[in-house]
Symmetry: C2
Subunit: 147 residues, 2 copies
Amino acid sequence: MRALADRVGIRAASLYKHVPDKRALEVALITAGFAEQADAFESVGAGADALDRIGRAYRTWAVAHPHLYRLMTEGELPRADLPPGLEARASLPLVTAVGGDPVRARAAWAFAHGMTILEIDGRFPPDADLDAAWAAGVSAFRGGDPG
Amino acid sequence: MRALADRVGIRAASLYKHVPDKRALEVALITAGFAEQADAFESVGAGADALDRIGRAYRTWAVAHPHLYRLMTEGELPRADLPPGLEARASLPLVTAVGGDPVRARAAWAFAHGMTILEIDGRFPPDADLDAAWAAGVSAFRGGDPG
DNA sequence: GTCTATAGTGGGATAGAC
DNA sequence: GTCTATCCCACTATAGAC
């Protein structure tokens, strides 16, 4: 709260005239983040390479907002305090891109999140080719369902 | 440190007679964790379903040690303070299971980590079938490389 | 190797004047 | 809506007696 107040140019105590507590502020940020993500994913459109383009949009957005991405994906999601339908709206493009199967979409999301959070946390070896890893994952989830 | 001291039955200050600081303790825990993981992954053996069994071993171990798993995968990895070769030993079974391609192994690891950390953090919807999602991911990375 | 006591830091939040 | 002043708590770590 103090760091934020510094950025805004006021004292930390003054923030509590605008927001009840720290968590409410976080929820507002998370809400804005999901809305931005939804816009980004919807803008890639449909087509054969939709999954590839969603993957790129996912990574690009997260790397551009690493702290917000971490806030959005770590710990309990405050579903009750989020605008109804927002989470579904942000995830719909991916579900569509993998053919409508929510199970497959969940797996693809786990891959994307794993790649992203490991990159943000600097966990990959310095020489790792992350573009290639993303391509391998996207290609794995693009193919027909053999299972 | 106080919670640990309580568990051990001594005062927090006394811990510093055994370990220089908190980080050294964490590094010791991380080292033990990787050794345990390596044992678990090596014990699945080779074969056509090695990838499936490694996936199950990965998830089982992580869910059994959620706090240690988080400690091992969050933030910077203290590579310089880890026993040489330990990280490689823990990851070798996966690399072998995906056919020796480190890029493909990296993608499969990202999927496994994504599934795992999202499950530990309770981020999946309550009705999500995680067994099915794991199966979908494993099947995606088991198939031949079309990309 | 254990203890008590304490230093030092940081962070969330409130009270009340203006 | 901003400020100053302050409270309260949690936490890592050290000093020094035993």
